[in-house]
Symmetry: C2
Subunit: 385 residues, 2 copies
């Protein structure tokens, strides 16, 4: 059986994601589709708008055969770590192809860029760019790439993520065949009304504004129905802001410095910003040219979830859901896996799963789950048979 | 000028407090009345129901001449530390008398009990009682006292506090003449309807249940009016519970162990209790014979406010408010003070005031004060001229 992989967040699942799944099956000619998905928190540094259980169901309903969780310690990180660990999981699952959406749409451009980024002259250009202290590391990096690869606009968010997939694949042995689909929606589109495709960002905004009607045509009907059926709170950066603010204003400087992404005194910037009484104002005050709002959000979430510099997270496969085809595929590759496979948290090595258990507990706390903070602990993968 | 001192929380101010002030002036024959008052947080381990600024105004309107804040690090402690530091402040202010309410009402009983507690045979009985691991330290202590002093029922909350005032006074040189007034209300009275006197606990319950009408006859009219005029949120242990819960479920065991009152693995009991989704259930689960609900609340609040074992708090006089008489008295004793006098936080030694500044900031955060978390920092004492 030939398996293809996709790396997703489904925050929430929408028509563009359905297109991605259908096209991935078509272009990769795979029999099996495996999704590596973010869990309770997403890469832009905020809680997922709905639970991972619901997003797993959407993935399976939409045609994925197997859904594996990307551990939270790899999710809320810069693109290179996120991409490397997601590709590592797919590779270990013996996936033949990786298909990702991008503004560019041409896999060869990404492969060329990844090759260039592994050459010494790239490193020289990067170091030159880093002399400009006003720019972030990310800006210096994309400038160095752009100087050579003109056909790939690495200032576009999905292009840069695709580049990191290609780079990760190369680092890990280049065993995955890469495919890229040109995204049909502008990521930053503000007017979702003209089309039945809109970005997850635009859809989240509609949902958080309680404009469910506008969302109806932008998502598959099974997603729409489940959003109506699940009256649970929709989470956002705003939902967790009171807790973040409390932590920033009560922890000592040395406690904040012990957190993973806290470097260069960024904690002082965050503490000052925490005097603002709402999340938008916090982000506005904390963001600079050097510190993008994504960087700020991710650092803030690492503080909220207490990702310590000293902690060592290990990769593993957390099985969130599967159908019959996924089960058949898994029974074949199971013995060949190098990373541990975890079906039920309560039966897993506590050291392996500790950060994801803690993140799920806090997600449920933020979502006001009544007295069932460790509910996920005993839950089994979703069988979509 | 002869000054008398009282140790108060005014959480909120009620008719019993007015009686206490009037009687104190009468029995002590003092010209000046000085109140040492808890600030943003109170000794039972929760935020004060309203701000210290409003409670300072009440104290002055009711006839106090000078209001000094008891530093927060001494407030949320067991009775002996609370009492010792409050008496230390009064003594340094050259107060001649201390008058406190109690169930007993006879100062001599307290003085005799304090003398007994300083003798070696008391220590022997205490150590014997501590062999029973089921009982709290407080229970072992009161049992040892009760074995000798039959006329003072030290199981009553105000008697035990009065005992600690007497003991503190003795330790600090017995310079204050002690007076005790018999409380006219039962502290634990649940039905406030029969009288115009009710305990602060009963009144808080009415206020938190939004039963303002029932409160009207229980508090002086100036208090009632200001409660109506100040629509700000009334704080309680329930208000801070989401933040406490977040901290208990996100901090590491070693971070929790670094907190002042966290001993004997009590953090694990608190973590388990934090799975409960409301403050009442939390307290119910966490409380045992050994750990009273006050001990649990105080420990929880020390965790919330991050009182570290390594921190050293120093005593000082924080001037919250005064009238002309208080000003005249202060101008006389000022030069004789051994402890620093702080009128405006922004001009004080940051090391001295750091814990109180942090506590005020968090109190304002919990009270949803908009963008003015450090508002107290620049504020001046309330002049009630």
């Amino acid at each position: 059986m030939r398996a293809a992989g996709i790396i997703v967040e489904y925050n929430p699942f929408h028509n563009g994601h359905l297109y991605h799944i259908e096209q991935t099956k078509k272009v990769t000619k795979a029999d099996i589709l495996i999704a590596v998905m973010s869990g309770s928190f997403v890469q832009r540094g905020e809680p997922a708008i709905v639970s991972k259980a619901l997003r797993t169901r959407w993935a399976l309903e939409a045609g994925c055969d197997l859904v594996i969780e990307l551990p939270v310690r790899y999710v809320m990180q810069q693109a290179d770590i996120f991409a490397t660990e997601a590709v590592r999981i797919l590779k270990d699952l013996h996936v033949s192809a990786l298909c990702f959406g991008s503004e560019n749409g041409n896999a060869d451009d990404f492969i060329r860029a990844a090759e260039f980024a592994s050459r010494p002259e790239f490193e020289t250009r990067l170091q030159d760019n880093l002399q400009n202290k006003e720019h972030s590391y990310g800006r210096a990096y994309t400038d160095a790439l752009a100087s050579e690869i003109s056909s790939l606009d690495v200032t576009k968010p999905n292009n840069i993520l695709g580049f990191h997939y290609a780079l990760a694949n190369q680092k890990l042995g280049a065993e995955l065949e890469l495919f890229s689909l040109k995204r049909t929606s502008d990521y930053h589109a503000k007017e979702a009304e003209q089309s039945n495709i809109a970005s997850a960002t635009a859809i989240r905004k509609l949902l958080l504004n309680d404009d469910f009607f506008a969302v109806q045509k932008l998502v598959p009907s099974f997603v729409y129905q489940s959003l109506l059926d699940n009256p649970a709170e929709l989470l956002s950066f705003e939902s967790i802001y009171p807790y973040l603010r409390y932590r920033l204003l009560s922890d000592s400087g040395s406690a904040l410095e012990s957190i993973n992404s806290v470097t260069e005194g960024i904690e002082n910037r965050l503490i000052r910003a925490a005097y603002k009484d709402n999340a938008d104002a916090f982000l506005k005050v904390a963001t600079t040219k050097r510190y993008s709002s994504s960087r700020i959000r991710r650092t803030a979430m690492q503080i909220l979830l207490q990702f310590k510099k000293e902690d060592i997270a290990l990769p593993y496969h957390r099985l969130l859901g599967l159908n019959k085809r996924g089960q058949a595929y898994l029974s074949i590759v199971k013995k060949k896996l190098e990373l541990p496979l975890v079906s039920t948290l309560s039966k897993a090595d506590p050291k392996l799963i500790q950060y994801d258990v803690a993140a799920s507990r806090l997600y449920r706390l933020f979502a006001d789950a009544e007295n069932d903070l460790d509910g996920e602990f005993a839950s089994r993968p979703l069988l979509y048979f």
